[in-house]
Symmetry: C2
Subunit: 166 residues, 2 copies
C-alpha cells in the first residue's frame, strides 16, 4: 500500500470509528489527520485537506482540545493557530476513557443514587431496590477501577497487567 492511500484510508475510517465512540465523524477525521501528521496544522490546512467548512473545523478543534486529544501550538510571528495531536497512545486512550466515564458512567451513578431513596412496600418495590443496590455496587466499583486506570501514568495494559493476557 502506498502512503497516500494508507493515509486516506486511515483518516476516513478513523472518522467512521469515531461515530461508535461518542465522537462525530469530522472530529474523528481531524484527530486521525493530526495523529499521523509530522507537523502542526492550521484551520485552513485542515479545511483544504478534509474538504470541510471553517465553522465545522473550528467547532471540532474546540471539542478535541476539550477532550485533551489535541492542543493549540503558538508559533512565533504567526497569528494563525496551529494544532497538534497528543501522540502518546496511552495518554490518548486515558483521555477518552476519562471523558466516556463522565458521559456514560456518572449519569448512571447519579440516577441510581436518586431513585434508591425508597422504602420497600411490596414485592415490586423490593425487587426494584434490590436491583438498584446491585447496580450501585457495580457502577461504583467500575468507576473506581477506571479511575485507577486513568490516573496511572504508565501504560498499565502493557506493563503490570500482563499477567491477565495470553
Amino acid at each position: 500500500m502506498q502512503y497516500q492511500e494508507g493515509k486516506d484510508k486511515f483518516i476516513k475510517t478513523w472518522g467512521e470509528l469515531g461515530t461508535n465512540w461518542g465522537i462525530n465523524k469530522t472530529m474523528g477525521q481531524i484527530h486521525g489527520l493530526l495523529l499521523i501528521a509530522t507537523e502542526e496544522y492550521t484551520t485552513d490546512a485542515i479545511m483544504e485537506e478534509l474538504h470541510i467548512s471553517r465553522g465545522n473545523v473550528n467547532m471540532n478543534l474546540r471539542s478535541l482540545v476539550e477532550w485533551g486529544l489535541i492542543s493549540k501550538v503558538e508559533k512565533q510571528g504567526d497569528r494563525k493557530d496551529y494544532y497538534a495531536a497528543e501522540k502518546d497512545i496511552w495518554t490518548v486512550f486515558r483521555q477518552i476513557i476519562k471523558k466516556r466515564k463522565e458521559k456514560e458512567l456518572h449519569p448512571m451513578i447519579h440516577l441510581i443514587e436518586e431513585v434508591s431513596e425508597m422504602n420497600p412496600t411490596d414485592e415490586k418495590s423490593s425487587e426494584f431496590i434490590k436491583m438498584m443496590n446491585e447496580l450501585a455496587l457495580f457502577s461504583n466499583k467500575a468507576d473506581k477501577t477506571l479511575d485507577n486506570l486513568v490516573n496511572s501514568k504508565a501504560n498499565i495494559l502493557v506493563s503490570s497487567y500482563l499477567k491477565f493476557m495470553r
Copy 2:
C-alpha cells in the same frame, strides 16, 4: 420517593443513558423496564407501558435478544412471546462489553492491520508506520484484556481485582 415515581424515572433515564452507549432510547427503556420487572412481558404490555408502536417494540426486543440482554420465555398454552431480562448485573455488563468490543475495537484493529502493510519511503510514511505499530500494540492488548474480562464467570470487579480499588 414512591415506587411508581422511581420506576418511571429509572426507565426514562435508563433510555437516555442508552443513547450514550450505542443503544437507542427505546431499546434502553425496554431494557430498563424488564430489568426491574418481577414478571415477564409481552409485546402488548410493553407497548402499553411505554406508549410505543408494535413495530418499534418488536425491533428493539430483537436487538436486546441479539445483545444477550433479554431472552424469550415460552409459556404453556399461550401463543404470545414473553420476554425477561438477564438480571445478573455482571452478566449484563459482560454482554455489553462484548458487543461494544465488536463494534468499537475490532474495526479499529482491522483498519490498523490493513494500512500497516506499507514500506517506509520518507519521514511521513515512517511516522505513519510508527503510529500504526503503536496503535496495533495497544489495541491488541486491550482486546485481550477485555476478552479475559468478558470470559470470566465471576464478577472480577468485585472479587479478585479488589486490590486496584481504594
